[in-house]
Each structure stands twice: as structure tokens, then as C-alpha cells.
Symmetry: C3
Subunit: 450 residues, 3 copies
């Protein structure tokens, strides 16, 4: 307990009687607030780190949410493969982010190219039983808690991609892409804002990553969907769009709920602090706004699909809720509750309206990842200006353009190289059989499928 | 609070100046205990709010638990509809509770009719980065954390209803009912106890809502089940009761586990405070008692079904665990661990014995929501007198009668109006086909169902 | 700030003026740091208890993880039974641990046989609203929080067993075994290390239970698998090993993710303290190492199965991640991140290499519990010496031998007695039909199974 060092007064009581009294009192005056301040410092550090740890396990669980959502939305013949991809991508993201991503993203002065390209070094945590003076940033939180929290954001980008390119991308090329995305592409981009890079300096605001995380994942997904191409049979030669319904909608619903659950950590943890009254009240605001934006998105999608198609659509409701969550992510703090509902609702409407658009463009996005994370992400990033007086529309537009542009271009290059070097697409024949059998020799539901 | 012993100095400031000596001593005397007290105040506020935030995300996840439980217990032809209802009801509950419910429930002096009908106004949170002097109640917690926690309880009542009326209620009339239930009916009733209304004044005790939440949901569910009627084919003309087994029992089991998980937040968070040694030790007691009551309920149901029917029954074991949880919810703090097991076990027995009773009365409760949340809820509310010396049986009985009576009557009126205005029941033909196809044009498991 | 009201020193102000001033100053000097120290003591107690409560609900959820993993990996005709076993075992474990296990495990001086056999008494928690002076250990945490946390570890051992003996063990004999395992066998063994028994004294180190929990469960599972025998048809007379694929791999994947999620609490909570900067930074290290070890295990299993069998195998990837988690559990604190990846990766390799070995020995372990929790557990316990300078290889070897030896021997005796008294194995005919129908009269998926 480092307090021992800074509570020096017990011994003083022996010395005091022989001293002049005013001097004693002075010592007390100096020492005592120090003891309180030291305890306060300690508590703030603990509570900030705790926020990251709680946020960390909540956002970790989003990996399960993405996996269930995607596995439920693919056909059963590709479900085991989709689950494998999700477990493997999360595992590889962790290693890639540790080896290079974290320091690339948080150079904090140690840039390779100032403001644009972070530092290169594996993550090193504080030593075991760290002493106060060895703490990296005593006003912030432990490195380990920060690392685990940020890692989960990085992995989320890869989870977004896996949904879009499901049912036809080859496993190992996909995983190579994941390593490059999570180790290099995402961290570079994220450093521009969260590593105190140039986007941060021009005033671009994206609280928890509507663009930095969700939009980034969607841009990488779009590049992937274009290079890998659509699923065999999805778009008929006559222009007909074949519906390929998800095989397990209750599982997809579970995935959505898990994502919603994790989003409390995603947005709440992004307050980055919980050690003061103001911070914990802000985290509380964020929880409430996050929840109501999801509500708004789900309800809007439910109503709009019922109006447009006469019947509600569960997958649209799920994606509407997720779009509401993405929409509030750029600014979950400043809106009032009513505005949070509205911001989320617009996100839900965007998804219902843009999902068919992608199909018309013959861009095959199996789970609707590009509308949910990309289009709603753009909306959310723009919506910051509605409630945050510090936001400037031009900075938001520049940020969106650069983030989406860079993420798309860099991903496209990687996907194209992978296409040439390894091939990225499962053959049409194997797609008909299903990737579980052809590429894994197993079935997700060996006793159920007709 | 042990601080009483060791923060002695404020009064000294009056005495010291007369000693001539210590202008500085005055500073010490004023500043020091104030600094400690201020830090303590801050920490208590943060820890209380944190308890609500943790409780909030845990109880949020119960929405997923209800959804999986109910989706697993309906037939596969209605599973997508059941999932849709659960996502939509939770979303609408959030909006309704924000717009009117929260302040109706917590008028705290601002009553429309003193002690009976709360205030009417949308929820407004503390401002961003709230200053100490602008905090609503510095001895309690942030409004946002309180709102998110209480919202989850409100939504739970609607989740209980959706299980009972599954497989034949129309989506949109059901959702209208949800809005009225969560925006108006439940908040009015809950204000009587938790809003410091008249039930609180007569000494009715219901710690986390065996009656206020679970019984209330069950009463609304009973009204719904009566007005909507039983599922087509459930009760034959010859008096035969047709078993309609759930389509996905592993999913239902997952739902039960998620509910148990969330219940730590439900009961633990209802301590409403975690900033003192006594409070955190009480939350710990609550965790332990909650867990053991669920254990007792599950084991009792397992044993009794095996005795009665020679074979154990998984759905009864699941409902037994849930009944154990409901039973301990009215008083999870004062029982010892052994008593917690017993209270939960009685809940489990009640469910096994009353589920067939409802069938004999031709009340079709698809998931057993009325026995689990209603009958076990009554038992739990009565059982408070066993361990809490402050409880009075008469007050418990009055509370139960008024809560169930009001919730049932108000819900019945709404259901009857909805029946006339919109119709609440899906036609028999459509029930045979299944609501997923007829009302949504989709299937939950398009590749599995025979 | 209500503390202002309760500063109680009216008495002192009367007394002080008559005293010498040095004495006053002494009062100030003494009292002030005391106030800070008291607040610090309070906060440490709260934060430690909170760590256990968070750890408690996270590790609780592992019960759901085990249930989903095992229910997904059995054939659908035994899925409802597997779910029933998991709910019942967790419920019974709670009761058994309360009645006798907890105090048997934590005698802390109150041994029946010093260092070898703990005390016998049901768990009693601190009283409601406990006063500071009645707290059991003010430097540690509330009894209730400790109890709930440790209970979850105890229950995990039983969950491990249920996976290994799935699809042919009789329900009630299995549950009797669970009661003895969780009430007596595991607590006695765990007391040797965590109850400050003789293994603790010789310097055996197992931070969160690679051997004490996971190895212990695996040893009990091995005894069970040997006594119960293999599933009917698993090993042909011609030496052929029949593959019996799991019926619901997405559900098994969910189970793995839930286990990974819960493991943050399992390992993080085992720091046992979060009230200082050093402790919260250590918990953070543990979170990061735990996550990366799981990553290492999953990736290693993915690569090795692809090398060995040309195709990746989802169940091996799942078990690889779990083996990575088990491997880091004995020492999640001292390794650096790179070492954590390696320790986990070796665990993943061990699983891929030893699963076929068990089949060659005709030991039928349905979910791979013995390789995952046993062999990876041994590896993890040995690997402590790689990074923890306090670890001694001989002590680790002695600990492993005694833990596995005792757990296996004691379990074997119980299983053999149960075999004679109750019979432990479902008949071959009933196995062919499936335990759900024969022993429960129900089906897990009545509409899906072919």
C-alpha cells in the first residue's frame, strides 16, 4: 500500500510537543490533504481501470454476439464454417493487436510519421504488483485494462467483415486479411483520432467509434464483398434476387441481444473514466442513451418494414436495433433521451431502406453488415453535430471521408493481393454443397438439415 | 458508519480561535474532515451508481433470457414471431418508460394523487459532466443509472406477458398492450411501494419485486390469456389436454441460465447502495441467497416431477429454478442460506403443482409464466414474514391483493378494449399454419422443421 | 453532503481548551490519518467484495457455457438429458457447497486433521447490515462474496464430469456423485492449497486452479468414464472408432464463448483483491493474459488440425481455446503477453494430440473434457515455473500427483459404489433410443430430428 509512504504523521506525534505549535499545525495542513489526495488518486485509477475491465468483458462478449448473429443468418450448410471463422478471427485479432496493433494505435508521441502512422512495438504491460511510481499514467488506468478494452474494439471490425463475406470466402485467406486488418490497417486509422493524431487535432469527434470502428469494419467488408463476389446463385441472370434465408433466426436474435448487452460496455467504457461524480453520471447517461437508441432503431425498422412490405421482418428488426446502436455510438453522451431515440430510429430507417439498394447493386452482404455498420455509422457520425456543440460538420465530413476512404482502399489492396496469391473464393460447386462439408468435413447440425 | 468515530473536528473551529494560537489549526480543522467526507461522499455516489449500472446490464440481459426461454418453448412455426415480440416489447418498454413511466413511478412528492398516482413528465437526466451541486440526490446515485436499472424491471413485466399469450396473440395489439403496461399500468402500481406511495407507508415489503414485478407481470398475463383464449387445439372438446412441446429445449435452458445470471443484478442491485461495508456485505448476502433459492427450486421440481410422473421433466426443472428465483425476490437479504434454499424449494413445488391446475381451468399459459411469476411471487411475498422482523402479514396480504387486483383489472380492461378495437387473436387457420408464415412471411428454422 | 451533520465532536470542543495545545495537535495528527485510513479500509473491502461479486456472476455464467457446450456436442436424442444434468448439477453443487463444502475447504485453522481435512459446518454469512467490528476479515472481503465466488469454482468441477460421461450415465446416480464431489471430495482437495493446507505450505502454486479445479474435474471425469464405460457403439469389435458428431455445433460454439467470457472472472477474480493500484493492475494483466492464452490455444488447434487432417475442425478449435484458458489458469499473472500466447498454444496442441489417444485407449470422453481440463491443466500447472520465480518444479509435480491421485481415487471409489448400489449406466437399448425419450419422455428438438 503506497499510502504508507504518504501518511507520515504517526511519527510526528512524538516530535511535535518539542516544536512550536504553529509549525506543527502547518505540517498537518500540508500532509493531511496529501493523504486524501493520494487516496483519491488511487481510487480514481482503480475505478477507471475497473470501467475498462467491465467494458472489456462486455465488449468481448460481442464476439459471441457477432458469431451467433452471423451463424444464425447463414444457411445451415455453412454454419460450422461461420462459427469457425468467428472464433479464429477473434483469436487472431488478439494476437495481432498485441504484437503490433496497440502501439501502432496509441503512439502518443512516439509516431513513425507524426499524426499519421503510429509506433511499432509489441504491447508491454505494467509489471506485476506495480508500484505507484511505475504506473504508466496514474491519472488514467492500468495498461492492461486499456489494452483489453481496446483490443475488443479492434476485433469487432473483423467480426463485421466476416458477416458480409460469409458463405463463400475461403477460411485461410480470410484469416490472413483479419491479421492485416487488426494488426495494421485498423490501428493506423484509429490512431488518427484516438491516438491523438491529425483527425483528433482537426476536431473530428467520434466518441466510441460509429466511423472509427463500425464504419471502418463496413468499409473493409465492402472491399471484401466486391473482391470475393456474390454467393453462387444469389443474383440470377434475369436480374432476379434470390432470397437465401438464415437457418436459425432464434440464434441470430440471441446474437443481437448479446451485441446490445455488450454495447453498454462499448459506449459506456468509452467515457474512459469513472472515478468522479461527473464521470459516473456521464457513463449512466451513455447507458440510457445507448439503450434508447437501440429501442428507436428496432421500433423504426419494425414499423417501416410493416408499412413497406405489409409484414414485419425479424431480421430487419434485429438489424434496426443494431443500426440504432451504431448510430448513437459516435455521440452517446450529449443527446437527451428523446434525441437518442430519434438518432437510433433514423439508423433503423436507413437500414431498411439501404439493404435492398445493395442487392440492386449486386453487392452481396449476407448479414446486412454494410448498411448496419457503414450507413448507420455515417449517420451517427454526422449526428454528433446535432447535440454536441463542439462538433463541426466539416470536420465530421473530413473524418468520415478519410476513414472510409482509407479503410476501403487499404482493404481492397489486401483483398486483391490475397485473390491473386491464395484465391479468396470457394468454387461454385463447393458453395452448392456447403462449406462445412467441403472445407471442414463436418456439419453444424448433422441431424437436422433436410 | 465507522467514520463517525474518527471525523471529530468540525466543531473545533469554534473553540480554537479563542486559544489565540492557531489560525492554521482552523484551516486544518475545516479542511481535513471535509476533504475526507467529500471523498467519501463521492465514492459512495460512484459505487451506488456503479451498482445500478452493473445491475442494469445484468437485468437487461434477462430480456434475452426471456426471449430464448419463450422462443425455445413455442413450436418452431411460431418461433420467429416470438423472437420478434420479445425484441419489440423490450424496445417499446424503454421508450414508454422514458416518456411517462419513470416519473409516474417515482413521483417522490410530485404526485397527481398523493400516494396513488405519480407525476407525469418524460425522464430528464442530470446534465453532461454534472457538478456536485447539480446532482439530483448525492446520497443516492445518478439519475441515469437509476433510470436504466428501473427500466429493466419495467420491461420484465412485459416479457412475462409475452410468454403466457404466445402462439396466438396478434403482434400489434400485443405491442399496444405492452406500451400501456410499461408506460402506465406498471409504473402506477410500482409507485405505491417503490415511489414511496401508500403501500410503502403501510409497511408492505417487497425487496426486489416478487409481487411488484413478477406478480404484476403474471396478473397482466392472466388477463391476456383469458381474453386472447387458448391456442387452437390445446383443449379438446372431450376435455383432453393436448401437449404442445417446445421446439428447442436447449435454447429454453439457455434462457433460464441467462435469467438466473441476470437475477444477481435484479436482486443484488435492489440493495440500491454499495458504498459502505454494510451495503456491499448485504449485496453479497443477496447474491448467495438468490443463487441458493434457484438451486432449491430446481432440485425440488426435479424431485417432485420424478415422484409424480416417474420421470424428470426438463421444462419443470427450468421453471422450478425460475420459481425459486421469484420466491426469494421479495426478501433476498434477511434469510440465512438454508432458509433461502427452502424458500426457493417451496417455489419449485408450487410450480409443479399449479401448472396442471391452470390446464384444468383451460387457461393456456404457454411457458408457465403465471405459476412461475404469479403463484411463486405470492409465496415469496408472504415468505418475507418468515425472516424479516419488520414484515407484517396483514400488510403483505393487502399489498398482494391490491397489486394483483389492480394489475389484473387494469390489464383486463385494456385487453378487452384491444379485442374490440383491433382484435387480439390470430385465426385458428393461421395458428395451424403458424404465425411465422402467416404474419411474417418467414420461418425461424427454414431448413429444419419437418 | 450529509457527513457534515454527523461529525460528532461536541464533547472534544468542551475538553480541548483546558488541554495543552500540543495535545490538541496530537489529536489532529492522530485523527486525520485515521479518517483517511478508515475510508481506505472501507474502500478496499468494498472493492475486494465487488471483485468477487463480479467474478461470481461471470463464473456462474460458465455453468451455462458448459451446458451449451455439452448439449451441443451430444446427439440430439440425449440433448434434453444433458441440459437437465447441467441444471441439476449446478443446483445441487450450490446446496452441497453451502451445507458442508465451503467450510471444509476454508477451515483456516479449524481443521479436522491439520492441513489435510477441513472443518465441518454449514456456511454462515455475516449478519445483515454488518457493523465494521463484526466483519469476518476486514482486510479481505465479505463472506457472502467469497462464498458465491468459490461456489462457482466448485460447481465447475461437476460440469467437467458431466461432459465426459454424457449420453450413457444415469441421471440420479450421476447427481449423487455430484453431491459427494462438490460437498466433500473437491473441498477437501482444494483445502490443501487454498485453505492454507499442506500443499500451500510446500509452495505448490496454482493461481486459479489449472489442477485444483480443472485437473480435479478431469480426474473425477476419468474415473467416471472408466466405471460407466463407453457409449454403446462407440468402439466397434474390429477396433473401429465410430464418430458420433455433436448435434448442434453453433450451440457448442456459444458455450465456448460463454466459458471464455466467464474465465475473465475465474482468473481475474482469483487475484482476490482490487483495492489498490497494484491489485487492479494485476487483475488487468490477468484479463489480458487470459484472453491471449485462449487465442493461442484456438489458433494452435486450428493450425495443427489443418496440418494433420488437411481440414480444420471446429470442435478442436473450440477445445483448443478452452485448453488455452485452462493452461493459463495456474499462472495468469506473471507471464508477459507473448508467453501467455505460447502457454495457451501448447495447451491447444496438447488437446489435438491427446484426444485421439483417449479413443485408442477406448476411454469415451464425449466432449474432450479430460484432454482439455486434465492434460492442459497439468501443462498449465507445470508452466508456472516458466514465469513465476517463486515456483518450484518439485512442488508443482507433488501437487499435480496428489491432486490427480486423490481426485481420481476418491471418485473411483464413489463411482464403483454407485455402480453396485444404483447402477450407473443406461442400457444399450435405451442408449440407441436416446436418453431423452427413455429416461425423460421428451425430446430436445421434437420437430427437427430426423
Amino acid at each position: 500500500m503506497q499510502l504508507k509512504k504518504i501518511l507520515p504523521l504517526a511519527a510526528l506525534t512524538v516530535a511535535l510537543p518539542s516544536l512550536g505549535l504553529a509549525q506543527e499545525a502547518e505540517v498537518v495542513v500540508d500532509a493531511t490533504p496529501d493523504a486524501v489526495a493520494a487516496l483519491n488518486t488511487e481510487m480514481v485509477f482503480i475505478l477507471n481501470s475497473l470501467l475498462f475491465l467491465i467494458g472489456g468483458f462486455l465488449v468481448f462478449f460481442m464476439a459471441a454476439g457477432f458469431c451467433m448473429l452471423e451463424t444464425g443468418l447463414v444457411r445451415s450448410k455453412n454454419a460450422a464454417m461461420q462459427a469457425t471463422k468467428n472464433v479464429a478471427l477473434f483469436s487472431l485479432a488478439g494476437i495481432a493487436y498485441f504484437v503490433v496493433g496497440f502501439n501502432l494505435m496509441y503512439p502518443l508521441g512516439d509516431w513513425v510519421i507524426e499524426g499519421w502512422l503510429g509506433g511499432v512495438a509489441p504491447t508491454v504491460l505494467e509489471p506485476v504488483g506495480v508500484a505507484l511510481e511505475d504506473v504508466d499514467d496514474i491519472e488514467y488506468a492500468s495498461i492492461g485494462s486499456d489494452f483489453i478494452f481496446q483490443l475488443m474494439f479492434c476485433a469487432a471490425t473483423a467480426s463485421i467483415v466476416s458477416g458480409a463475406v460469409a458463405e463463400r470466402v475461403k477460411l485461410f485467406p480470410f484469416l490472413v486479411f483479419v491479421v492485416i486488418l487488426t494488426g495494421i490497417i485498423y490501428p493506423i486509422q484509429a490512431s488518427w483520432s484516438w491516438g491523438e493524431g491529425f483527425l483528433d487535432e482537426i476536431g473530428f469527434l467520434d466518441f466510441a467509434g460509429s466511423s472509427i470502428v463500425h464504419g471502418a469494419g463496413a468499409a473493409a467488408a465492402l472491399a471484401g464483398a466486391l473482391v470475393v463476389g456474390s454467393r453462387y446463385g444469389k443474383y440470377g441472370k434475369d436480374g432476379k434476387i434470390n432470397v437465401m434465408p438464415g437457418s436459425n433466426l432464434p440464434l441470430a436474435t440471441l446474437g443481437m441481444f448479446i451485441l446490445w448487452f455488450g454495447w453498454f460496455g462499448f459506449n459506456g467504457g468509452s467515457q474512459l473514466a469513472m472515478g468522479t461524480i461527473a464521470d459516473v453520471a456521464d457513463v449512466s447517461r451513455i447507458f440510457a442513451n445507448t439503450n434508447l437508441a437501440a429501442s428507436g432503431g428496432a421500433v423504426a425498422a419494425l414499423i417501416l418494414t410493416t408499412i413497406l412490405y405489409k409484414k414485419p421482418d425479424l431480421t430487419m428488426v434485429l438489424n434496426g436495433a443494431l443500426a440504432g446502436l451504431v448510430s448513437i455510438t459516435a455521440e452517446p453522451l450529449t443527446p437527451g433521451l428523446g434525441m437518442a431515440v430519434l438518432i437510433g430510429a433514423v439508423g433503423g430507417l436507413i437500414v431498411v431502406l439501404t439493404v435492398p439498394m445493395l442487392d440492386k447493386l449486386k453487392i452481396d452482404d449476407v448479414v446486412g453488415a454494410i448498411p448496419v455498420h457503414g450507413f448507420a455509422g455515417i449517420w451517427g457520425t454526422l449526428a454528433v453535430v446535432l447535440t454536441n456543440p463542439d462538433a463541426v460538420l466539416s470536420a465530421q465530413l473530413i473524418g468520415i471521408a478519410l476513414i472510409f476512404g482509407f479503410m476501403f482502399a487499404a482493404s481492397l489492396v489486401v483483398w486483391l493481393i490475397l485473390k491473386v496469391v491464395m484465391g479468396v473464393r470457394v468454387s461454385d460447386e463447393d458453395q452448392v454443397t456447403g462449406l462445412d462439408k467441403t472445407d471442414m468435413g463436418m456439419e453444424a447440425y448433422p441431424e437436422f438439415s433436410s
